[in-house]
Structures are given as structure tokens and as C-alpha cells.
């Protein structure tokens, strides 16, 4: 199905904002200004955006330790996120959560999560809520659990899949196979020679596979998946083959990669380059359109960083609030 010019621009902008957000963090982290562990999503943008472009705020997603891309794709505010990563009290989590715990319930973003595999069961609960609410004009609301190729070996992820099948929850398990969990290869850690989708299928749901570096492959696949799930056919799974451009966390020397691997994936598997090549070749958008988005995005990130730097710092008293609603 052909996307409108606006939709194409919007998708590209989202991917580009994520890319620049992460590229900038990569630089800023070196300066020591940003505290904590940061895991960059760079390279996987087509997955987050290809999935979330189909959703609105009433659909839920839940993310991982590598959550910036999912947050931005689902509509979290760029500046509020940047402030959070900087640890400001103006951040989305008032500086209490940081990079690994960004959430915005109002846009249906139920949180990045530092515990590998913790998200999937929570996503099933959100899906059950949608099932209880019943279908609207476009079918059921859905809930999406993003998981990595490492997370797919955690017991919680398996439980969630069976549970979703049993309860026929409108939950979609999106597996982003970027070939590594920290420093370990997917072929080693996933006993099915790295095949995640088939294992999901064996839990009793339909599963899809697609190239996660191709926005259109992701977007088209998700259209099918969502039609299936919104129609009330229970959960589904999708495995996207993708790439992470940086180390597991910032500081990772990445000696587990093959010679030239990073250059190759940057050259051949860059979802932004692919998007540009495809839309310009098809005459859907021109280079000038995309260049404009590029510079807009850079500006947005620059502005966010400037705002984050200037934003109010938390105080010692802030430690004590937000534990309970009443106590």
C-alpha cells in the first residue's frame, strides 16, 4: 500500500530524529556529562518507526534497555527525553529513571526496562486490557512487546508467549534480532541456530519475518500482523533482522565483530540510506525534501541538548517523592 507524501516524510523524520538523537548521545557521553548506562538504538530505527507508525496513543508498547528509539517512535517528547537522560528534574521521569526507564503512559509508552525479558509479560497485561475493552471501529487495540535476540531466551518471554496464546491477548511480540546480546552471538545463545520466529510460532501463534533495516518491509509486514491481531486472532510474533551500529553500551570495544563489519553494515544496512534510495528512485520524495528533514532533525536535537544542559537539576528532597501515590 502506497504511503502518502506526508506519511513518508513523517516516517523519515522519526527515523532521522532517532538517528541523530543517538549519534549525538554517542558524542556527548564521551564528555562525561551524561551519567549511567546508555544503550544506543542507532541502526534499528526502521523497526521502531515501521511498527509505531501504525499505532496511536491507545495502543501500547513496552520497550527494553535500548529504549530511546521506541520512545521517540511512539511519540515521547524529544526534549523531555533528552532532559531525562541528562538527569534533569524537568525530564520525562524527573531525572529519577534515566535512559533505561523512560516512559510516557499518556502516549502508550509503558517504559524502557532495565531487566531483560521483563517487558513481555507486562505487554500481555496491556493487551488483556485491550481485549476487555473490546474492539473499536478499527478492531482491537494492541500491545507490543519489543524484545531483543538475547531477551528471547529469558523465561519471562516464553511464559508471556504461552500466556498470550492461552488468553488470546492482542499482543505482538516484536523480536529485534541485531545478532548480539551484549558480546554473544545469536547463533550461540538461541538454540534454534538463531531462528527466533519459528520458536515463537511453536508457541501457537502466527509469526512473520522481515528485513528490519528496510522501513517498507517492516511497515508492510506490520500492516498484516496488525490486521491479524486487531481482528481478534490472538497474539502474533515478528522477527526483524536488524543491526546495531554502536557497541552494546557506550564504551564497548566491539571486538566480537568481524573485520569490516561496522563499515559494511553502515554502508549496506543503513535504514535511512535505504529509505532515501527507495523513495527518491520511486520519485516519491526528492533529496531536497529529505535534506530538509535532516537539517530540521539536527536542529531539533541541538535544541534538545541545549535545553537539557540548561534544565533544572533535581534536589535532595526530590529523592523522597513519587514512591507512592498515598502512604
Amino acid at each position: 500500500m502506497q504511503l502518502s507524501r506526508d506519511a513518508l516524510l513523517r516516517a523519515y523524520r522519526r527515523m532521522k530524529v532517532i538517528r541523530e538523537f543517538e549519534e549525538r548521545l554517542h558524542v556527548e557521553i564521551m564528555t562525561g556529562e551524561i551519567a549511567g548506562f546508555t544503550h544506543l538504538y542507532c541502526g534499528q530505527e526502521a523497526v521502531a518507526v515501521g511498527v509505531c507508525e501504525h499505532l496511536d496513543a491507545a495502543d501500547k508498547i513496552i520497550s527494553t534497555h535500548r529504549g530511546h528509539g521506541h520512545c521517540l517512535a511512539k511519540g515521547c517528547d524529544v526534549t523531555a527525553m533528552m532532559k531525562e537522560i541528562w538527569g534533569s528534574r524537568e525530564g520525562l521521569g524527573k531525572g529519577k529513571g534515566g535512559s533505561m526507564h523512560i516512559a510516557d503512559i499518556e502516549v502508550g509508552m509503558l517504559g524502557a526496562n532495565g531487566i531483560v525479558g521483563a517487558g513481555a509479560p507486562i505487554a500481555v497485561g496491556a493487551a488483556l486490557s485491550a481485549k476487555i475493552d473490546g474492539p473499536g471501529p478499527d478492531g482491537l487495540r494492541v500491545s507490543i512487546a519489543f524484545s531483543g535476540d538475547g531477551a528471547c531466551n529469558q523465561g519471562t518471554t516464553f511464559e508471556a508467549m504461552n500466556f498470550a496464546v492461552v488468553t488470546q491477548a492482542p499482543c505482538i511480540f516484536v523480536f529485534e534480532n541485531n545478532h548480539y546480546s551484549e558480546h554473544t552471538g545469536v547463533d550461540y545463545a538461541v538454540g534454534t541456530a538463531g531462528d527466533i520466529a519459528s520458536r515463537a510460532e511453536a508457541f501457537g501463534m502466527k509469526a512473520w519475518r522481515a528485513d528490519g533495516t528496510d522501513f517498507f518491509a517492516v511497515h508492510d509486514t506490520m500492516r498484516e500482523v496488525l490486521a491479524h491481531v486487531r481482528a481478534g486472532n490472538g497474539p502474533a510474533a515478528v522477527e526483524f533482522d536488524t543491526e546495531r551500529f554502536f557497541g552494546h553500551f557506550e564504551g564497548d570495544p566491539q571486538r566480537y565483530r568481524g573485520p569490516g563489519e561496522l563499515d559494511r553494515i553502515r554502508a549496506e544496512r543503513d535504514c535511512l540510506k535505504k529509505f532515501r534510495a527507495s523513495v527518491t528512485a520511486a520519485g516519491l520524495l526528492g533529496d531536497a525534501d529529505l535534506d530538509a528533514v535532516d537539517s530540521e532533525s539536527l536542529d531539533a536535537i541541538e535544541a534538545a541538548v541545549t535545553a537539557a544542559r540548561a534544565a533544572a537539576r533535581p534536589t535532595a528532597e526530590d529523592v523522597l517523592t513519587d514512591v507512592y501515590i498515598s502512604y
Partner: protein, 337 residues
């Protein structure tokens, strides 16, 4: 006032709240019972009879029978709660927090804080706890000491049918995650329960069940009754005990405990959890720090020993604080110096 059993107070409160608020949802293993069998749904309800009939009354969408997947149960409760529902999840035995603690501790309990106060997670996790059934090391434990130490959770331990009713209603209507601990040896306990459909007991308010001037006894659950028996016995000798039923351990009614000890000068905490880093130590530390000047004797803890829970009747009885051991503890602080 109706007379009802502790377990029926659980069931009726859930049923009333489900009838009142369509966002209340129940889930757990065998909470329906009979799913996928010839006998069909509700052939047999949960093993505690605390969900009997809910499926028939409220349907499959709101009474969800689950596979044996506790992490998924608790995770699903969180997801429901973050999405506007009020889940009441059942862990069949409190001991099973071992297989799903992350979802309780690092997820549910921390969302609000990590998300900067912008979320709410009104989930209730009910679980049967405690010894007395010779169910041995993996089906008899108390876990309030573990969960009380975890910021973001509220921990409730009712000791009577009326308290079940008032505290469970508060738990279901509360906007924070609540751990609701039901002592399995109390399920058959009968008692008067107020009829008021909005009867609620606020969290953090302990209950004085016996009043006296000589010693403060703090407890909850099954052992509370033992403490009352000791108090009654000592009363006959002219020794007055304040017996405080904590009701909730988080929030904690510090004031009730400290006020009492300021009068009595003596504290005995009677708790079913193991001794190290347990609730008894927590309260003894509290009192020794905040009522130091009032203390006439060392704060005393009566708890099981630092061992797993044994199976045989003789062993479990020897393991648990008994009326005799509690009495000895009380006499020890009374006889100090």
C-alpha cells in the same frame, strides 16, 4: 454485622468490588478451575475457595484463568494496571514470589518512581502465606519481611475476617501496588464483618486488640491469636499487655507502637518470618531507636529460628512461635533486672 469466614470475606469483597467497578479484574492459576476439562469452567474453583463463582458472575474477560506462569501473572497484572484496570492477581502460595519477584520488586513496585510520578499501578497481589499445615519448606513461608523492605509496595496482613473485608476493599481501591497476605491457617476463621458496602480500613493504622500497661506485644496473622491468649492469661495474673495487630507492615503505624512502648517500656515482637533481617528486627530497631529513653528492658523478638521450615508435625510446632514461647518472651522482658 454478618458472621463470615476469613476466606469468604476475601471472596465477597472481591465480588462486591467487581460489581461496583468494571475495571476490577481477577487472574491467577485455577481461579476459575476446570478450564479445558470435561467438567468445564468452575468445575472446581481455586484451592482456597476465594474466587468461587466469580467467573459465572463476571465472565471470562474479567476472571482469567492462567497457566502456571507466575511471572506472566504478575507482569500481566502490571500491564492491566498501567492500562487503567484494577487487577487482583492471586499467587497460590506466597513462597512462589521466588519465581516472579522481579515483576513485583523491580517492575510494579518501581514504575511510579522511575517514571517520575507520572504513572499509577493499582494492582493487588493476593497470596496465601504462613505455616501450620505441615506443608514444609516451600509452601509455608512468610514473605512480608522481604516485601516490606521493597520501596513502592504496600504490604497488608489481615488477621480477622473484618480486617480482610476492610483492608482488601482499601487495597482494591488504592492506586498503588498492594501485596495482600492471607494467612492460610486463618481461612477457616469466623468473625463479625460490617455490612457497610464501603467499609474500609485505612492502611497504616494498627489495631489495639488488648490493652495493658506493662508490656507491648506486636504481631499479626496467625500468631496474633497466640499473643492474645498470652495477654489474657497474664491479665488473670494482673499483668497488662497492649496487643497491637499491625494490619499493614508498609505503611507502618509507628505511632501506635511507640505510643504504647512509651507507656509500657517493654516490647515483644512476635513474627512468623525468619529472625535475620525480619520484621521483628525491624520493629525492635525502630523502638530501640525512637523510644530508647522509655525502654525498661531489651526489646525482644519471638520468631522461628534461622532454619527452613520443617515438615513433621513435631518439627513445625517446634519451629513456630508457640503460646508458651511467646509467654516466655513476655515474662523475660517483664523480669528484666
Amino acid at each position: 454485622m454478618a458472621q463470615m469466614m476469613y476466606r469468604d470475606a476475601v471472596l465477597s469483597t472481591i465480588a462486591e468490588e467487581m460489581a461496583r467497578d468494571p475495571s476490577v479484574v481477577v487472574l491467577g492459576e485455577d481461579v476459575v478451575g476446570g478450564m479445558g476439562t470435561a467438567g468445564g469452567p468452575e468445575a472446581i474453583g481455586g484451592i482456597w475457595s476465594t474466587s468461587t463463582g466469580l467467573f459465572g458472575q463476571f465472565g471470562a474477560n474479567r476472571v482469567i484463568d492462567t497457566p502456571i506462569s507466575e511471572s506472566a501473572i504478575i507482569g500481566a497484572a502490571s500491564g492491566l494496571a498501567l492500562s487503567g484496570k484494577r487487577p487482583v492477581a492471586e499467587l497460590m502460595f506466597a513462597d512462589f514470589i521466588g519465581v516472579c519477584l522481579d515483576q513485583i520488586w523491580n517492575q510494579m513496585g518501581k514504575f511510579r518512581y522511575m517514571f517520575g510520578g507520572k504513572s499509577k499501578c493499582p494492582a493487588v497481589i493476593r497470596m496465601a502465606y504462613g505455616a501450620g499445615y505441615n506443608a514444609a519448606a516451600q509452601h509455608s513461608q512468610s514473605v512480608h519481611q522481604i516485601l516490606t523492605g521493597m520501596p513502592g509496595l504496600k504490604v497488608v496482613m489481615p488477621s480477622t475476617p473484618a480486617d480482610v473485608k476492610g483492608l482488601l476493599r482499601t487495597a482494591i481501591r488504592d492506586d498503588d501496588p498492594v501485596i495482600f497476605l492471607e494467612h492460610k491457617a486463618l481461612y477457616g476463621m469466623s468473625g463479625e464483618v460490617p455490612d457497610d458496602p464501603d467499609f474500609m480500613i485505612p492502611f497504616g493504622h494498627a489495631r489495639l486488640t488488648r490493652a495493658g500497661q506493662d508490656v507491648t506485644i506486636v504481631s499479626s496473622g496467625l500468631l496474633l491469636g497466640f499473643c492474645e491468649a498470652v495477654a489474657d492469661k497474664l491479665a488473670a495474673e494482673g499483668i497488662g499487655c497492649d496487643v497491637i495487630d499491625l494490619r499493614t507492615t508498609s505503611p507502618l503505624d509507628e505511632e501506635a507502637i511507640l505510643d504504647s512502648v512509651e507507656v509500657t517500656g517493654r516490647l515483644v515482637v512476635v513474627d512468623e518470618a525468619p529472625p535475620r533481617c525480619g520484621l521483628a528486627a525491624d520493629l525492635c530497631a525502630l523502638v530501640s531507636n525512637k523510644a530508647f529513653a522509655s525502654l525498661k528492658a531489651p526489646p525482644e523478638a519471638v520468631t522461628p529460628p534461622h532454619t527452613p521450615i520443617p515438615f513433621a508435625r513435631e518439627l513445625e510446632s517446634a519451629y513456630l512461635p508457640s503460646v508458651d514461647k511467646i509467654e516466655a518472651g513476655v515474662r523475660k522482658v517483664l523480669g528484666w533486672r
